[in-house]
Symmetry: C2
Subunit: 311 residues, 2 copies
Amino acid sequence: MRPNEFKAASEAGDGGYKCPFCPGNESCTPPAVYSLPSADEKSWRLRVVRNKYPALVPGKNIGGRTNGIYDRMDGIGCHEVLIESGRHDLRLEEMRVEDIADVMRTFIIRTREIKKDAGVEYVMIFKNHGMHAGASLSHPHSQIIALPMVPIMVEEEISGAMQYHRAKGSCVFCDIIKEEAGFKKRVVAENDNFMAVEPYASRFSFETWLLPRKHLSHFEDMPEELVSDLASVLKKALSQLYATLPELSYNLIVHTMPVQAPEAAHYHWHIEIMPKLSQVAGFEWGTGFYINTVSPEDAAAMLNDGKKYQL
Amino acid sequence: MRPNEFKAASEAGDGGYKCPFCPGNESCTPPAVYSLPSADEKSWRLRVVRNKYPALVPGKNIGGRTNGIYDRMDGIGCHEVLIESGRHDLRLEEMRVEDIADVMRTFIIRTREIKKDAGVEYVMIFKNHGMHAGASLSHPHSQIIALPMVPIMVEEEISGAMQYHRAKGSCVFCDIIKEEAGFKKRVVAENDNFMAVEPYASRFSFETWLLPRKHLSHFEDMPEELVSDLASVLKKALSQLYATLPELSYNLIVHTMPVQAPEAAHYHWHIEIMPKLSQVAGFEWGTGFYINTVSPEDAAAMLNDGKKYQL
């Protein structure tokens, strides 16, 4: 019974829809757990609320138990929504660098707060933009989900990075940064502290990774002086995707270490942006291999040439 | 540059589109590698062709090589399309049981043929039906892809089943069949040789598995006397999904052992059907965990009550 703006708009016409994330409609959401004031201090410019339709809810984790031959556990955790702006139609990359920096800073502040609960093993930060990426509301927002266990995808990525580190003695992400800086043809944006690349053998067309040049395993440990550069490389990468592709839908995911784990030499936080240009189909679901019809080298050239493409 | 019927129809109107899989248009596809004659023997009722836009192509596998710090290998294998009927608008579950049995039998015949090539490690059989499942043509068809390596998803499933077998001394799929036969509330179709269930804690709403009651690790080793029962349970499971859900799109995947591996006590071939009712979003991509808003128990009750639901 979650609201779906896209369905609601097509059923009722745009006029029949009241956005729960717009200023004035605060009563449609649970109260804010964090917010930043607007310039005139009469309203807010950014707001974090508990998700009204949470994937996980706070409670006491009583561990696994069985159900016939199966194992189960309760969905304990928390699920917050970060409303990125008071403006309904302002996309993240259209915002000013300092406002995008506020969004990034808020991710950090909330993660540091949420991880004080020792039952929280992982904080997953992500953004779904556009219908094809599973977004149900168009007002710019991201999500923060606290989990009572390390997700399987995170475990696999970290264990792969650990195997690489054991074999080569270096961090795989640091090595990727070095390789891409030398090769150049997959780089789409960069500044002193970050590099945006179309990763080698990417799963999705126009998949884009934002890599911090300096090794650090936890996103929430990022020093304040890097936040503005992150905002600026994100603005540039998303703006280029928008300029190049028609009707962009994407998932953005912060990849980071489990919050209770110590700083690690083998893992390097980063952000992955996955544009959704085609449906994932049976071959991908069955194999875990991805057929990508646009090589990352071609994607980078297209993003860098400033033209619009019809795919 | 693959043709997309859905795009073509919306751009040119239905009349402007020529289906490459319809009888009379055989020149639009590569020649048949296998076919069954129509009743009047003047045409065909089922046809297997090489995919004109293959994901993998035949050739000599020269193994991995490096590209900077990365590893790569050629996409060696083969990619066949099984055209399930001469009729453009006949969906698989609308076909007669004996015609669906022909489709299943052809999967087996082609797999037995393809695996004679010792370079083929895995044969992936799947079907994408409907736009939301990534199908680009609506004429009923499935796909057979031969791979030079065991896909990561297959490896993980088999290794999970092996761990279960080591811990409990029994096959996890045999145990699921026993559990579901006792619990009953997740069963949606069954006959002497097969059971269709909404699996416990399924990833997708209305996800449906077809499980052969008798343990066997390789799909292509299925004895001929089981083929008709498989066709009949598949017809019933898909028909119920169609009757219950509006505009069904689904991926169907045959899960089976690598073709060069011997029969195994720990793995049990089966078919998984994944209806695509919602978009996979950031949380799922980031975690590998799936949020499913319809429990398998509710889904089974809805499939069994014969009503149509708007979701």
